[in-house]
Amino acid sequence: MFCFIALLVFSVLGIFSATHRKFAKEAFDCVFRRITFRPCNTGFREKVRGIILVKLMKRSSFFAKVFNKYFELIAWIFFVLMIVSTFYVGRGAYNFYLYGNCNGVNEEGFCLFDPTGENNKISPVAPTCGLDTPTVDDLSLANTDLDKFFFIDNNSEDTVVFIGCYVCDFTRKAFPDIEKLLEKKKPNFYFGHLPVKHGSDFISSYDYCAREDTSGDYWKFVELMFTSDIENINDQNYLQEVVDKAGYDKSKIDECLADPETLASIEQNIFNIGNTNIYGTPLVFVNNKAIVGPKPYRVYKGFLK
């Protein structure tokens, strides 16, 4: 049995180190010989035991004695630990593939395959005074009026709601994948801009006016906003150019920007988006499933019908 256990353990460790690969091969020989009922004279079990015992012996003969006495038990404990950890690694890999995170969709905590947590990062929304910061479980579209969002009707059974902010790094990271999803899978699509960064109020105004005005192509405007450098977007003159490129009638946009109603409407929209209990951007709902942070394309796709 020891040979079987060792074969499993060393095969896994062998992925990372040549020394363990050597042991894995010996364990394989040991198993093979036993299976075919040839006398197992590799002494593999004794070899492994001996090597560990000598290492322990040099530090403490007491520990070496204990190890020797409970060798079988200790081997089993290590085996069980290895199986358990292998299971978790496997599950982590599976979760990473499906959700872009080892621990499950929107979960935090360390993930070997995404060690810097890129797929989970968000630009946080400033907490509302007097209210608890919402969590993943609070995210919902139930109290949000989607009519106030920009909408592309693709007559699909899938619905994707994308909430983000033009100057936020992680929304920008997610944008190409969202766009790809829109192009390839053609879901019904909602977009709402949520300004999470201070000092970008005029950007919200441009966004609002571009959306309200039908003289230009709003989605073109959005694309330009997400693909331009952040410094440029923070510059009003540049936004004029964007509006221009998106085919808007500049005078109409200026008119809207100057309208005192505009700010009030933006406030309302922000409030409406806030009803999702959003705590950071990007936030994407694919068929009502909330996904926080920029995930790989396959994750968004995975939630489509």
Partner: protein
């Protein structure tokens, strides 16, 4: 014999952290042997025998010199010496070229190395019968049993002269005399004894004798088969081809003289030259001195080992009857584990297992043993260190 000084002849022994106790498998080689091998490759890496340029002639002469030296080493004639790869090949050569027929019996002891067992068992396909002579309980040779089993059908006795299992030697002269009276030939497997006792094939009157170069300070892959000239002349041929014939036509060939007819293909020139050097070195030290040192070490080691509870030495208790070998097992401790731990903790190299004598272990139902095989360059300090380390390990394992 100044061991400290002698050890300087061995580059390997200058490494402080090794203790080599696996001499029954393969001895260490003095620097002169290594240098001789290098000399061949550097100074005259050419073909012997077949070519007539000066360097080839020098090599041919040197090889002949080695053949003569080896012959002298065992008191034989130079054309009675056949170069082989090792003892195993020597025995196989004989087993495949002796004229053994259906119903002929080959006798061995019950503790032969596989190399002197399998070639004879294999002859079963020709109807040749292999039988064993059981040893005494202390693993020594039972001469009475031999005299009882000798009969006209016994054509050959193939016997380990000294056992790699326990170091015990057989009374070779007595056995050979008995065998010859019965009309049987005798092959001695001298793999273990060639380095510890003076072998005089003339005095022994032995018919064939095999040994390996690498167990007597020589290079790996060198071996010797001695055969009495008249018997070699009568042997059939085994491996044939280049070097084994005087001439050939499309449908026939004329075998070369002995011993060349048994040395097929290009030979291990560097190895043979190295073996020649090893023999010179051995003669300089003297086999008696070698044996004396082995016995001193064995005496000390055996006494210390016998103090350990549940430890059994294979073979007779008296160290003087086991040359440089102590093979032992401990009832409640695995030999492999001991060997590994000795190596990893103190760099002591020993051999664990069944030492290619599976048959003996199976019949005695002993799983394995730990073999300490010492040579003249080992010291008492090394043996003491071994004993200390062994005791430490046993304390952990019990």
């Amino acid at each position: 014999m100044n061991i400290k000084k002698l050890r300087k002849d061995f580059y390997f022994l200058q490494k402080k952290n090794y203790i080599y106790f696996d001499n029954a498998c393969n001895s260490l080689r003095p620097d002169c042997v290594v240098e001789k091998i290098n000399e061949y490759y550097k100074e005259y890496p050419v073909c012997a025998g077949r070519s007539n340029y000066a360097l080839a002639e020098k090599l041919t002469t040197d090889l002949l010199g080695v053949r003569k030296n080896i012959a002298k080493f065992i008191s034989a004639k130079e054309d009675e010496i056949i170069f082989t790869k090792n003892t195993t090949e020597s025995i196989n050569l004989l087993a495949n070229s002796l004229d053994l027929k259906e119903g002929d019996i080959v006798l061995t002891t019950d503790k032969e190395h596989n190399s002197n067992l399998i070639p004879w068992i294999k002859l079963k396909s020709k109807g040749v019968i292999h039988k064993t002579i059981n040893s005494n309980p202390d693993n020594t040779f039972n001469i009475e049993r031999l005299s009882k089993v000798l009969c006209p059908e016994v054509k050959l006795l193939a016997l380990g002269m000294s056992s790699n299992l326990d170091g015990v030697s057989i009374p070779a002269k007595e056995i050979i005399d008995l065998a010859h009276k019965n009309g049987s030939l005798v092959l001695l497997d001298a793999a273990q004894s060639a380095i510890s006792e003076k072998i005089d094939v003339k005095y022994l009157d032995v018919d064939f004798l095999a040994f390996s170069g690498h167990k007597i300070l020589g290079p790996s892959g060198t071996g010797v088969l001695f055969g009495k000239k008249d018997l070699l002349e009568k042997l059939g041929s085994f491996l044939v081809g280049g070097s084994t014939v005087h001439s050939s036509s499309y449908d026939d060939f004329e075998l070369a003289d002995i011993p060349e007819r048994f040395e097929a293909g290009l030979q291990n020139f560097s190895g043979i030259l190295g073996l020649g050097e090893a023999i010179k070195y051995l003669e300089k030290i003297g086999l008696k001195n070698i044996q004396k040192q082995k016995l001193v070490l064995n005496e000390y080691l055996s006494n210390e080992l016998l103090k350990i509870d549940k430890l059994h030495i294979i073979g007779p208790e008296e160290a003087s009857r086991r040359s440089g070998i102590v093979s032992f097992y401990i009832d409640d401790i695995d030999s492999h584990q001991l060997s590994i731990m000795l190596d990893r903790s103190a760099g002591i190299m020993t051999r664990s297992g069944q030492h290619c004598v599976h048959s003996w272990f199976k019949s005695r139902e002993v799983a394995s043993s730990l073999r300490v095989s010492m040579s003249f360059y080992n010291t008492l300090d090394e043996v003491k260190k071994f004993v200390d380390e062994l005791n430490n390990i046993i304390k952990i394992l019990r």
